[in-house]
């Protein structure tokens, strides 16, 4: 492939990489989720050790007009700790499964983070001033002897080094028997849903001691269980609409106005199986690992083992676009800001982008070998074994342990964050 394809010929350049350099990966450092906030200024990552790291984009620098601001660490905090379920004698992992940002309403930022069982609302606020000149306290905090006070003064605020504080404001616990795989904030910005393998619950952001069950696919007899929920998301514009995907390759769209318990879907999206492709693994292959609405709300994207599919919400019987990509059960996918390009991760630290307009696709690699800023990434090509051309990679040499499970696209600009096992890569398009 001589030209970079995909995305109106965006030329992707390496921008930054975060994380340890060595190959010896501590398990706690494995990145488990990546999410830009609504403005794109903040980028949050969660890891297996229960930590959240937030990066902030530098303000655009006049002298560096050739690139957008870099992302630097803004805040780090321990969101979840490991717990022990005494009833079942099982550990509850502290791994952060999902992070979702709330839109900014005041000076502070809010995000939801969740592990398998508990969702937390975190407030991230800045402090860059502090009061000085107390009457009863010394500057170092010691109390003064009141008898030595001869004059009074009014404390004033003086600037200090920026401090970013994260504090848990709400803890939403004890509502999920199974492992939470998704959280999604409603467009009303007051409620959100959380989904585990068999149930979806609706919460109000202000209320922690109660949530309402809106989907329950648990059969009365667990022997009959053949299908689980794999992902769920609220519609970006319609506050009563949400979708959830299943391990059998179906997506159900539900309207909360129809019934309190949305066990009956309003729409069922399923592509009929090609009987000639049936194999032992058919069902596993069709299991959907991620579902995401487009920003417009007109389309949704699903990721299964072998493909990324774009569905028109008005057509249930088949997707409108299908892009082939090799993947696995837990790969995520994402849209760019204008819904014209979709991106997903693959093996060997490759990630792929599909331009829906030009129908071109591109495969790129996240590796430290390309880490000169403003170097345009070279497209990679995977070929079947035995037919390898120069610069191509044979499918046999793919490292199936190097997966890019989590990718995120800046909501407004061509900046992407791609997480390998324990490193976060940031790429941006080449600005001239």
């Amino acid at each position: 492939m001589s030209r970079a394809g995909g995305g109106n010929d965006i030329q992707w350049c390496f921008s930054q990489v975060k994380g340890a350099v060595d190959d010896d990966v501590a398990e706690a450092d494995i990145i488990s989720t990546v999410e830009f906030n609504h403005s794109g200024e903040l980028l949050a990552t969660g890891d297996k050790g229960g930590r959240v790291v937030i990066f902030q984009q530098e303000q655009e620098n006049k002298t560096q007009s050739h690139s957008r601001g870099e992302y630097n660490v803004y805040s780090t905090f321990q969101s979840h700790e490991p717990e022990f379920d005494y009833l079942k004698s099982l550990e509850i992992e502290e791994k952060i499964n999902k992070i979702r940002w709330l839109p900014q309403k005041n000076a502070a930022q809010f995000l939801l983070s969740t592990n398998d069982k508990t969702i937390k609302l975190w407030k991230i606020s800045e402090r860059d001033k502090r009061p000085e000149g107390y009457n009863l306290k010394e500057e170092d905090g010691r109390y003064r002897d009141p008898t030595t006070v001869t004059t009074l003064r009014v404390p004033v605020f003086r600037p200090m080094d920026l401090m970013v504080e994260a504090s848990p404001r709400r803890i939403f616990a004890n509502a999920h028997t199974y492992h939470i795989n998704s959280i999604s904030i409603n467009s009303d910005y007051e409620t959100y849903l959380s989904a585990d393998d068999l149930r979806i619950n609706l919460w109000h952001l202000e209320i922690t001691d109660r949530s309402f069950n809106i989907v329950d696919i648990k059969p009365a007899n667990m022997e009959e269980l053949t299908e689980v929920i794999t992902a769920a998301e609220f519609h970006p514009n319609s506050c009563s609409t949400f979708v959830y995907s299943s391990s059998k390759g179906t997506i159900r769209l539900c309207d909360m106005r129809a019934s309190a318990l949305c066990d009956r879907h309003s729409k069922l999206f399923e592509e009929p199986e090609d009987p000639s492709n049936r194999s032992f693994f058919s069902e596993i292959i069709s299991s959907i690992s991620d579902v995401k609405f487009s920003h417009s709300g007109r389309y949704m994207m699903t990721r299964d083992y072998l493909s990324v599919k774009i569905w028109d919400l008005n057509m249930e019987n088949r997707p409108v676009e299908t892009y082939q990509v090799l993947g696995e059960n837990h790969f995520e996918c994402c849209w760019n800001g204008s819904d014209s390009i979709v991106m997903t991760g693959s093996y060997n630290n490759f990630f792929r982008m599909f331009d829906r307009n030009s129908k071109r696709d591109i495969t790129l690699e996240a590796s430290r070998e390309n880490n000169k800023p403003r170097t345009v990434l070279k497209p990679r090509k995977v070929c079947a074994s035995g037919k390898r051309k120069k610069d191509e990679i044979s499918v046999d040499s793919l490292d199936f342990n190097k997966k890019i499970l989590h990718t995120a696209w800046h909501p407004k600009e061509n900046i992407i964050a791609v997480a390998t096992t324990n490193n976060l890569y940031i790429f941006q398009d080449k600005m001239n």
């Binding site: 009833l87 509850i92 028997t177 393998d197 949530s211 069950n213 022997e223 391990s247 693994f281 292959i285």
Partner: protein
Amino acid sequence: MLGKGGKRKFDEHEDGLEGKVVSPTDGPSKVSYTLQRQTIFNISLMKLYNHRPLTEPSLQKTVLINNMLRRIQEELKQEGSLRPMFVAASQPADPLSDSFREAQPAFSHLASPPLLPTDFVSTMPLESCLTPASLLEDDTFCTSPAVQHEGPTKPPPPALQAVKDSFSSALDEIEELCPAPTSAEAVAAESAADDSKAQPSESNIHKPEGLPESRTAEPKLMDPLPGNFEITASTGFLTDLTLDDILFADIDTSMYDFDPCTSATGAASKMAPVSADELLKTLAPYSSQPVTPNQPFKMDLTELDHIMEVLVGS
């Protein structure tokens, strides 16, 4: 391609890797469809139980593997490869229940409170009001027994225990047999599993002659897995079969020469050339590379295991 193809006559006494054409479109294959199926069955069982005992197993993974096992079981049923005597022998486990109740106090924690909350939830007018999530009680208690068990006993239902013990004991035998099961051990395992069917009152508590070490492994195996247990043991898919039918019936066990412990750790980060290629061929039929009839369709145990690992992410 692992497609089902047309119905073939299954020769139970055929062993080894003699080529059987899977379907006319697949070209010559070296491995019989049935052998692949059995291999996948074994691997699935391994995957089901081969995980960190400290954390709850992934329900999604369990369900996917269970579905695969069920499908294989259905196929086997349809092909009539079951030995009739074993179908009858594994009927509801009432006679076994007493012994299991005493023998398995470890499962007392699965004792349920009265099932009223479930009933309560199900009779509420769901259409009209939201169900607080707090009413969805803990699910380990919700399994309805395959056999109604009267008396003031604590669930887990006896059918669960009977099924669990019969196939979990066989599972232990598999685990004990790895890394290198031999035919002798396979025969011993088969007889031990037969023993467990024939003498239900004592087999799962006392050690059969053949494999003394397997019984001690059993409580270890099942205790940390109550969640998983509920799903897999209660599927009932193994009540009609004994594992011996599928695993050890006249199959060349030299195939099973792999160590699931190392495979679970993903030791092989790169697949053998043929397997990766076959993976794509079997799973990506849209690829432009046609299946060349010349290439032998070699699918050995490690390759299938790797495919399962990649697919189910264990």
